[in-house]
Point group: D2
Chain length 264, copies 4
Amino acid sequence: MSDELRFPTGIGDSDADHITVLGKDLAGELMGRVGFGELAFWLVAGRRPTPGETRVFEAVLVALADHGFTPTAIAARLTYLSAPDSVQGALAAGLLGGGSRFLGVTEDCGRFLADAIAAHDGPPPADDAGWDALALAAVTAARRERRLIPGLGHPVHKVEDPRTPVLLRIAEEEGLRGPHLRLFEAIGRVHPQVLGRKLPLNGAGVCGAALADLGLPVDLLRGFALLARTAGLLGHLAEERRRPIGMDVYLTVDRNTAYEPDEG
Amino acid sequence: MSDELRFPTGIGDSDADHITVLGKDLAGELMGRVGFGELAFWLVAGRRPTPGETRVFEAVLVALADHGFTPTAIAARLTYLSAPDSVQGALAAGLLGGGSRFLGVTEDCGRFLADAIAAHDGPPPADDAGWDALALAAVTAARRERRLIPGLGHPVHKVEDPRTPVLLRIAEEEGLRGPHLRLFEAIGRVHPQVLGRKLPLNGAGVCGAALADLGLPVDLLRGFALLARTAGLLGHLAEERRRPIGMDVYLTVDRNTAYEPDEG
Amino acid sequence: MSDELRFPTGIGDSDADHITVLGKDLAGELMGRVGFGELAFWLVAGRRPTPGETRVFEAVLVALADHGFTPTAIAARLTYLSAPDSVQGALAAGLLGGGSRFLGVTEDCGRFLADAIAAHDGPPPADDAGWDALALAAVTAARRERRLIPGLGHPVHKVEDPRTPVLLRIAEEEGLRGPHLRLFEAIGRVHPQVLGRKLPLNGAGVCGAALADLGLPVDLLRGFALLARTAGLLGHLAEERRRPIGMDVYLTVDRNTAYEPDEG
Amino acid sequence: MSDELRFPTGIGDSDADHITVLGKDLAGELMGRVGFGELAFWLVAGRRPTPGETRVFEAVLVALADHGFTPTAIAARLTYLSAPDSVQGALAAGLLGGGSRFLGVTEDCGRFLADAIAAHDGPPPADDAGWDALALAAVTAARRERRLIPGLGHPVHKVEDPRTPVLLRIAEEEGLRGPHLRLFEAIGRVHPQVLGRKLPLNGAGVCGAALADLGLPVDLLRGFALLARTAGLLGHLAEERRRPIGMDVYLTVDRNTAYEPDEG
């Protein structure tokens, strides 16, 4: 049947005595020698990251792991309250909020930057002035088409998102401040000329730029935000077991429910 | 209103200029300084792991990250095929298979070992003979009640699961071969006397024992298998984009569908 | 290849000109002639329900469709807030709360009754006295083993759950007040002798008894609660679009968050 | 606190003696008197459908309930295989495939038709010639912008989708063949002039047109496909318990896995 049916994969394989992951012997070459973040990068990119790439990548995962009581964390805790027998269900419920609005910025920003770079003819800019010109063109075009510029502005961090300068510094230290991060910085410099006010470069956006500079697939950047968030959600479920708030959230809504006809 | 309503959390907090995670300044103290696996442990346990604990913990995550085309990986790829616009949905679908049968062994084994240790009166055994006696009692009781002993046996690795000796060695190197791992090894020695045949100690089981020795909550051990699997599922989705198999899986089923009445 | 590979199903089939569902021509024999609830019963049971069975079945679905702002409805609305691009994700998040605690009673009650009837030797009781004796034995055994009796008690309806007498009446009208419902009623009569106080027979429980009397598989009764709840969740998502509360729920939690270290 | 906090809803409410759903007494006015499909329409639209609207609506749900071994049905069965303890997880996994590709056509078609009607100035066309002109403009514009016309074509039903004429006839019988269905029919007549070949009007598309003519919110049409599919998925899970195919699907993939490096 193998002539007819073939399901190729480069991820994993095993026989009676060995388990191969990414072409390496899982037990002999990976366990205890490769970090979890390093393996996650490797699994998606199909190549092992350098130590510098790993440091930037893990800094991004750490930056995105948790934001306290987000709607997704609350949804996960409410689901755990309703179905404590299914940890996987509570985690999944929390991840399902990782869509366009709350976790999408990382991917949207990476894509916005990648598209602007792809649209640029000739060699990449050699200096900040060149990046500023590219940024100005991209922001002006987005403004003209009434599109939001992803990565600009934050509801809480109105002046500066503390994650942004730190991730830029880490990328610089590792020699990984590439075109996406440079363009993102340039957008931070030039957007007031177009938008008429200065907005901070937010953490989700700088993470998207950094992931794109690591050569990770732009269409899956949201996936890394989801991986990071999985750790945060596990933290919320562990805390929900020790100090539950799900029932209080439910009762708060229930006690303040106002029945009002809604004719649709 | 804060007198009436209080939602306490020790996970995260933020104001205009700072983001606090686990009581640390996210940007200044965590990003670039804490690994992702280390943070995941910290989020769940509420305490920062030592370097040795981190190494064992990440070895477990690496061991559990992927097993090739498992039913959950196939389900995630089929979901991505059907709804490529929702990476979070495909990931969630893959995690939802992380239940009793395929990802549950890690948690079941940790709980089985923890219960056996809790049921043991007096100080923990001082030597292998003592652990063997405890193991014999636990296996005999389970056998009497017709309960499976989680962590024994593997469909592919019939003689030895290559992950087991390696994780035991890593735990030993880090001084973290604790009571759960010792009892698990003892079960490996004594079970043939009770079951009449020798089965291998499987990788999912040794991971559960190691996580329990790290002091992580037994009721959430499945959660770590899910975190590890999230990285593997991302790898599958990335590969599905490059070398899709979902459509072939679907067509293979569709072409070989046999319509047969089923009266229920 | 069909000799080797065969995936049998009695559910659906199609060719260029026909779509067959449950052995009937979908377009010619089902659309416009079979109700949706009737089809759902048929799909699960593998047989077409009678009009009386359909009426009882739909009464159960109507009884279980919505309970206002349950934790699952809130989780679905929060997920829709976070990822409005994925209606399927918000619905799935809401359904994932359909586990042991909030939607499980229907299935647990059906199973409790089925087990008690299966454990009973000889012919089914001929009169209420016989059912009372069977109920007394089941309640006494559960009490002895410190097991809860599913279907007893309700946080809001402390005296009587209004759904219970109505569903009993409908089943009686349709000649479908079978052994599970009779035993459930008997439990309502005898439990005070054992528990020392009178609790109402709740709506989720009577629905489980009615579904079991319809011959539906006890291990899937939760699935009907989930089907019913899918309609309710759609109603919540539609209302969330018209009169959103998700953001207010989130902000209520966020504004009243108290950061407190939690050492785990 | 109710001055500050208010969570309005018109869906459900309850006190010790009553449960109100949509402003009606659930036990006294809905159970046994309202069908499940009727209630689902009412929950979303905020108004009770007429008997004719209910018949068309349930015909749509019946048409969309199942398509045999779709990728989503296979994903649900594989998830049930992996986590048989969580029916809600298997259902949710199946629904998560209800995205842009496999279940999205219903919603996309309804929106395409609604946008074309909204873009049309003046009164709605009085005759087929008028609808043909409107259809020609819409198809030509979509073609110019290289957008697909949702609802055209089907991989299996290459000449005619048997559901389409039947749903049109049912809508006509109930006096509910409105603008969306008329425009959809017109697209069926005129598209060959623009596309150069004749494609069938598919069942998912005609269902979207019919739901839009019922006045249901275009942004939630996918939700009705998901409700319908929930019944189909329950049927698959029930059959999976009686005649499992999940393990065979998994083993078929596993046995034909070809390990091939994939450099990403």
